[in-house]
């Protein structure tokens, strides 16, 4: 354990004029274009920006580390008086895991599934001979307790797959805290978690960082989260610093236009309009996987024509399973799906081409929803050919028309998905669904893998298309901000059952059933005091 722990307020990390290059397409590209960063002891700095802004690269550079295929071209990194650029690998290795720790985004992918959690938690400390196994384990149990993990004395003897995602993320924080480092780098630690779980993890991380006076870099693209965690916020874009300011000041009065645009995303809102013309209805559906594990219990949802019904709930609540029942991928055990008043055949293979054409689906991850070996034209063109029999010039014209609809230009025609950004890919997936000329589109978490600004673009596009073609959306999401932006009606689901369905204004205004209440007030707000207030209110 480091004995010469300095005072709060001393400069801990100073990075000057950092330039980092990345290698791709047989060339070096600039990722970070000359950035400065100063972090004091006990200070938490939030690094925010879209993906590709260089947040993670900068965060790793703070450890003196560059990913394979990246190199730190110039600049200086001084950590507590030690120059990390000049340091040998061995010197850096002695710092990493003891004085500088890293918490990765995906805890599930970062733990070794073959070892017990406690062994992994104390590994760095024991390995460097800072503590013996027993003291380290005792200390780890204390950390578990502070991080509010259940059964702190025994949870460490479990394996990674035996705890939940949120618990695993706290485990990783415990692992990082175990040597009481001077600096922790949090790389999107809550992005993969549900809102309700996210709150617990955030509280735990904030408390422990505060308690041990640890400095931290908190990398995220979620503004509301960073507002809770950071003392100072630095906004990044295309490898440049946009601005840096103290959190409250930044939230109250952002200077740069770009920062303002980040802030304004959450302002998107759609006025609700009720309708009784039901396009699709799900009646009393029970469904199970493998005939045994029942995941849906008596689900009833009505989806009015030309409107958006948002289905919200945490993961495991049966949202996506509902979508699978509608599409026929998972025939229900009982109950029915009615489309325009007619019952749809339960199984996919019994449905006619016509029925298939009218219900289309858009997936969460556009990466896996597009065949990487098919060009954009092939991807969009197939439904045209398949459902509408278009060929040759006619098909080509229609593809170009669709590309225009999704605000992409002709140059995308013969590109492959690998050459597109996340937002562009999602747009192509929307075009593929549109090509079928459907009445209903099921959107399964279509924006959750995207950055805020890109999200806004996609949501605007979906809203515009709805207006133009009177498309009905079933919008599955866990993001309340998205729900606000796009829905007319909301369905709240919990553990495979519908908690309530109603117009947006009804659901969003109290009184709420207990679960809706929990879900709604777990959504971070842009107020830096929100988390503190919430914790007080819950106690």
């Amino acid at each position: 354990m480091s004995t010469k722990r300095g005072k709060k307020g001393d400069v801990l990390l100073e990075m000057k004029n950092i330039e980092i290059d990345g290698f791709s397409d047989e060339r070096w590209h600039e990722i970070i274009k000359g950035m400065d960063l100063t972090l004091h002891r006990g200070e938490v700095m939030g690094l925010i920006g879209e993906s590709g802004a260089g947040k993670s690269t900068l965060g790793l550079a703070a450890m003196g580390f560059a990913r394979p295929g990246c190199r730190i071209k110039s600049g200086s990194i001084i950590f507590d008086g030690q120059d990390l650029i000049a340091a040998t690998d061995e010197e850096k290795r002695m710092l990493w895991g003891t004085r500088i720790a890293y918490v990765a985004q995906s805890a599930a992918a970062s733990f070794n599934p073959a070892h017990r959690l406690i062994d992994q938690t104390v590994e760095a400390v024991v390995n460097r001979q800072l503590q013996d196994q027993q003291t380290a384990e005792q200390d780890a149990c204390e950390l578990y307790a502070q991080l509010q993990l259940p059964d702190p004395e025994n949870i460490g003897s479990r394996y990674p797959h035996q705890v939940s995602g949120g618990q695993l993320q706290r485990m990783m924080t415990a692992m990082a805290m175990s040597p009481r480092p001077d600096l922790i780098i949090f790389d999107e630690p809550t992005t993969a978690l549900d809102v309700t779980t996210q709150v617990e993890v955030l509280v735990a991380m904030r408390n422990i960082v505060e308690k041990y006076n640890t400095a931290a870099l908190y990398i995220t693209h979620d503004l509301a989260v960073v507002a809770q965690m950071a003392d100072v916020i630095k906004v990044l874009r295309y490898g440049n610093e946009v601005e840096e300011a103290e959190t409250r000041q930044m939230l109250d009065a952002p200077k740069e236009d770009y920062t303002k645009s980040l802030w304004s995303v959450r302002a998107l809102e759609k006025p609700e309009s009720p309708s009784d013309d039901i396009a699709l209805s799900i009646n009393g559906v029970d469904a199970a996987y493998g005939g045994t594990i029942k995941v849906l219990h008596d689900v009833n949802i009505r989806i009015p024509r030309g409107r958006t019904v948002a289905v919200v709930g945490e993961s495991g609540s049966g949202k996506s399973t509902t979508a699978r029942v509608i599409t026929g991928l998972l025939p229900p055990m009982s109950g029915s799906v009615e489309f325009n008043g007619e019952a749809l055949p339960a199984a996919l293979k019994d449905r006619t081409k016509d029925q298939l054409q009218r219900i289309q689906m858009i997936y969460q991850s556009a990466d896996t929803a597009m065949n990487p070996r098919q060009t954009i034209a092939e991807t969009i063109g197939r439904p045209l050919e398949f459902y509408h029999g278009l060929k040759g010039a006619e098909k080509q014209a229609r593809i170009l028309e669709l590309l225009k609809m999704i605000e992409l230009d002709e140059s995308f025609y013969d590109r492959f998905p690998g050459e597109l950004s996340g937002g562009q890919k999602q747009r192509v997936c929307i075009a593929r669904a549109l090509a079928a000329e459907p009445e209903v589109i099921i959107c399964d978490e279509v924006t959750s893998a995207l950055d805020q600004i890109v999200q806004e673009g996609i949501l605007r596009l979906l809203l515009r298309l709805q207006k133009e073609f009177n498309i009905t959306y079933l919008f599955i999401t866990h993001d309340i901000a998205v729900v606000q932006a796009i829905s007319d009606e909301i369905v709240v689901m919990f553990q495979g059952a519908v908690v309530e369905q109603g117009l947006k204004s009804e659901i969003m205004s109290p009184p709420h059933p207990e679960y809706t209440q929990l879900l709604l007030n777990s959504v971070p707000e842009m107020d830096p005091d929100w988390l503190t207030n919430l914790v007080e209110a819950r106690v």
Binding site: Y238, L329, A369, N371, R373, D409, E419
Partner: protein, 306 residues
């Protein structure tokens, strides 16, 4: 189109526009970077193919033409001498390239058609179809290949067709396993689900959605299987149940002339005679493996600096 969306859809997000290279250009660049071993392999394979295709033009004598002197020494009219009934060894070597490689290629293609097709079908449909096919393959794999092939060949007779079919079926078990396992990781992709939801039929999903995404391991396996099939045919011919005379074939040439090794102390060149077809088999196998190694290395992303 609003202002924000316009700004968004512009090149802003892409960052840079990539030049589209033609396939030919990409191939040229890759070849330039290829290691010497790959070059060696490619050149050897090219030579073999050349010889196989133009065999009748290159060979000085006919495939089964019999001359007066059996076991003629090297040199003179017969470069590598003649065999036990007086056929020109050099000509038979050249024709052998055609027969052995042609049959090996046909067999490998057949085994990929069978194993690949069934493997894909098993991966996509899953359930009991998958179980049934996989268990059948397990049973086939449990029986030692060469012995099973010998048995089947004695039952069905050693015609070229039965030779191809028997080896292809036995070999397709490995292709089935590979195809099934790589396809299963692609089948769970959402684009395959999207195709199913669209109402696409099985052949389309197999050919258009899955096959292009599993090509690299299959191509590599094709090279390896080709080598193995080639060796199996040579081994069967050596044992006398493979390609039947008078068709020239390297495996049977080794067997026919094997006894000449005993004469090494009297005539070294004569003893070398059976080594030439054996060497030809070995060289091609090595060459194919070099190329496959390079290809695997390239497609599996092992070519990063480490």
């Amino acid at each position: 189109m609003t202002d924000t969306s316009k700004a968004y859809s512009a090149a802003a997000e892409v960052g840079q526009i990539r030049e589209r290279r033609s396939r030919w250009k990409i191939m040229k660049i890759e070849l330039k970077k290829a290691p010497y071993s790959a070059w060696f392999g490619l050149i050897v394979i090219a030579c073999y193919c050349f010889v196989a295709i133009f065999a009748p033009l290159l060979a000085p004598h006919g495939e089964a033409e019999i001359f007066k002197i059996p076991f003629a020494p090297w040199g003179g009219e017969h470069v590598f001498g003649t065999d036990q009934i007086g056929r020109d060894i050099f000509s038979r070597l050249i024709y052998g390239a055609r027969n052995t490689m042609g049959i090996a290629l046909a067999t490998t293609l057949t085994s990929f058609a069978i194993g690949g097709g069934l493997g894909l079908a098993a991966a996509i449909t899953g359930g009991w179809t998958d179980q049934l096919l996989s268990r059948c393959v397990d049973v086939l794999m449990a029986i030692p290949g060469l012995i099973f092939a010998l048995m089947l060949l004695t039952i069905f007779g050693s015609s070229i067709l039965s030779l191809i079919m028997i080896i292809a079926v036995l070999d397709s078990t490995r292709v089935f396993r590979l195809t099934r396992s790589v396809a299963i990781s692609v089948v769970v992709m959402e684009y395959v689900e999207a195709a199913k939801l669209r109402g696409e039929k099985l052949p389309w999903i197999m050919r258009r959605e899955i096959l292009p995404n599993i090509m690299p391991p299959l191509v590599a396996e094709f090279g390896l299987r080709f080598s193995f099939v080639f060796l199996t045919i040579a081994a069967l011919s050596f044992l006398g149940l493979g390609i039947q005379p008078p068709t020239a074939d390297w495996g049977s040439m080794v067997r026919d002339n094997a006894s000449m090794i005993q004469f090494a102390k009297y005539d070294l060149t004569a003893a070398m005679t059976p080594m030439i077809p054996a060497g030809a088999i070995a060289l091609l196998t090595v060459a194919v493996n070099f190329v496959v190694d390079w290809f695997l290395h390239k497609t599996s992303g092992l070519n990063d600096e480490h």
